[in-house]
């Protein structure tokens, strides 16, 4: 119970059938404040149904969804102030302006009248909506509509933020900005997001859960000390050159200039970057390597395909 009380969100043996088909089966998940959980899965894996249950929109057939230790479907009013939800299609009342819509959302989420204007101003700034705040939402691009959708999900400062494919349809620049926002939200809130895009998970998430056909097939951490990094350097190096760096636990050459490097437990990416520069390796690129996650994801998909065959 102590663990449950510490969790903002806990799913206990949650199952849901839709149109006679089991879409989510016996799902167990937990999420604590300050964590970003990435929900991965191919189409039809049950991600959206899971998020709808977490958001209070769709009741499970069996099992419990606990928010701060209380059953969300016994006390649905908990969702009002404590959950923010961005569905795959942002629920915008397009005939209104972004500002009008956000004011309504703030009141709907129970903000006091005097708290509405500061909350709306804060999310407009955070989601960079200042230029379009008074424009009817029918005239907004997909990226801005997505940002308005995100703004309505966070404007009441909920403990839990639920994002269903938040980067869907965004151009690369918008997707990067969205990642930054999600990452920053993860410092203060608990965030659960679903996506098809593995780099989004690597960039934003602390933990990952992979669903396949409604079942949880993998759940694990993506902490910095377990992350692999991919670097491009100008100099020709040997593995021993990398192992000489105190932050490095292992190094593997991809080609002459690209390396996959694993960090020592507790080492920071900035420690590695500083050491590489100091040794004059000629650092040209450094990024998180999503290949290990990709391999897990593909292995699960392949196993499931084999089972189906």
């Amino acid at each position: 119970m102590t663990s449950l009380a510490a969790s903002i969100l806990a799913l206990q043996r949650v199952s849901r059938r839709l149109d006679g088909r089991a879409v989510v089966r016996e799902l167990n998940l937990e999420l604590r404040r300050g964590e970003v959980l990435g929900l991965l899965g191919v189409n039809g894996a049950g991600k959206t149904t899971t998020l709808r249950m977490v958001a209070g929109v769709l009741a499970p057939n069996s099992g419990r969804v606990l928010l701060g230790g209380e059953d969300l479907y016994e006390r649905p009013e908990l969702a009002r102030r404590r959950i923010g939800y961005l569905p795959e299609t942002p629920p915008l009342h397009a005939e209104l302006t972004a500002e009008e819509y956000l004011r309504f959302c703030a009141r709907l989420r129970g903000l006091a009248r005097r708290a509405v204007a500061p909350a709306v101003a804060r999310v407009i700034e955070r989601c960079e909506l200042g230029d379009v705040r008074r424009r009817p939402m029918t005239a907004l691009s997909k990226g801005f509509r997505q940002r308005v959708g995100l703004a309505q999900a966070i404007l009441h400062e909920p403990e839990l933020i639920v994002l269903d494919e938040p980067a869907s349809g965004l151009d690369p620049v918008q997707a990067i900005k969205l990642r930054e926002i999600v990452r920053s939200l993860g410092h203060e809130h608990a965030v659960v997001l679903s996506t098809h895009v593995l780099p989004d998970v690597v960039a934003c998430c602390d933990r990952v859960a992979i669903l396949h056909r409604g079942e949880l097939r993998h759940a694990g951490d993506l902490h910095a000390d377990e992350r692999a990094l991919r670097l491009r350097v100008a100099r020709r190096l040997h593995p021993v050159d990398w192992l000489a760096l105190p932050a490095v636990a292992g190094a593997e050459a991809i080609d002459g200039v690209h390396w996959r490097v694993r960090l020592q437990p507790g080492a920071q990416i900035s420690d590695l970057a500083a050491a590489v520069v100091e040794r004059g390796f000629g650092l040209e690129e450094l990024r998180l390597d999503g290949n290990s996650l990709e391999a897990t994801f593909l292995a699960i998909a392949a196993t499931a395909s084999a089972e189906a065959a």
Binding site: R16, R52, A55, G56, V57, L58, A59, N61, Y73, P76, E77, L78, A79, R80, R81, I83, Y85, P87, T89, P91, L92, H93, A94, E95, L96, E100, F104, C105, R107, L108, R109, G110, R113, Q152
Partner: protein, 253 residues
């Protein structure tokens, strides 16, 4: 402000920024105004002949009440067009999750949608009622009968709006919701037609019919049995709409 009032005001605002609602209101007011002027002209031509008749019908009987009676027929067509978007358009645009995820109970959501649409319909009735009431500036009116008519129209509109809301909750397309609301209200209008043809006017089937309960208001009678009938329709329709939202959420019984 309660969440019901908040949602109702928001619905009103959404209707107010749509050209469709204003165009519909303008067409209705123009049609009624035209009919009002024709009736008034007919009355002015007839008035000299009525002078010598004892207890002759006045402007209330010959202009105001027929006008409001014809408005009741018009409402049967107009109200489904106003209510059709309430839930069906939200489901089609996948925006209903905003309300469903807000932690606001289903009954409050339904009541908010209902009062938002009803507010628009009642505003239309008030606008229309000003036409016959304006005759009071030049001639005495039977304000008691006119008041009863307006109360009857408001109750009738409240029942039609509730029927429209439940149809919008059931249907996935606004046009389908409007057609279903029109079909149900038409059925309630003619459900006792067969019985009436056979001269039966006090059977159970007559109680079900909308005109049975609307007509007394046009005669100036405000009876609790008629008020209860309209209130019952509203309660049943809104309960069914709420129940349907429960089903959409998949809440176990």
């Amino acid at each position: 402000m309660s969440t019901t009032a908040l949602i109702a005001r928001h619905e009103w605002r959404r209707l107010a920024v749509q050209p469709f609602a204003w165009a519909l209101a303008a067409i209705v007011v123009a049609l009624v105004a035209w009919q009002f002027l024709l009736s008034l002209q007919g009355f002015l031509e007839l008035a000299p002949k009525l002078g010598g008749i004892k207890d002759a019908p006045g402007v209330t009987d010959l202009v105001a009440i027929p006008l409001l009676r014809s408005v009741s027929n018009l409402l049967g067509l107009v109200v489904p067009l106003i209510t059709m978007r309430a839930f069906a358009a939200e489901r089609r645009a996948q925006t209903l999750s905003l309300l469903l995820a807000s932690g606001v109970g289903n009954l409050r959501i339904v009541l908010g949608k209902y009062f938002g649409a009803l507010g628009f319909v009642l505003a239309l009735i008030v606008l229309i009622a000003l036409m016959p009431l304006s005759l009071g500036l030049g001639t005495p009116l039977d304000l008691g009968r006119l008041g009863a008519c307006i109360i009857g129209l408001a109750l009738f509109a409240a029942a039609l709006t509730a029927i429209g809301i439940v149809c919008s909750a059931w249907a996935s397309q606004p046009a389908l919701a409007a057609a279903a609301a029109l079909a149900i209200s038409s059925l309630l209008a003619v459900v006792d037609a067969g019985a009436r043809l056979q001269g039966i006017s006090n059977a159970g089937i007559n109680y079900l019919a909308l005109p049975t309960h609307l007509e007394p208001f046009f005669r100036g009678l405000v009876a609790s049995v008629d008020i209860v009938y309209f209130v019952l329709i509203v309660v049943v329709a809104l309960a069914l709409a709420t129940r349907h939202l429960d089903v959409l959420r998949g809440r176990p019984d």
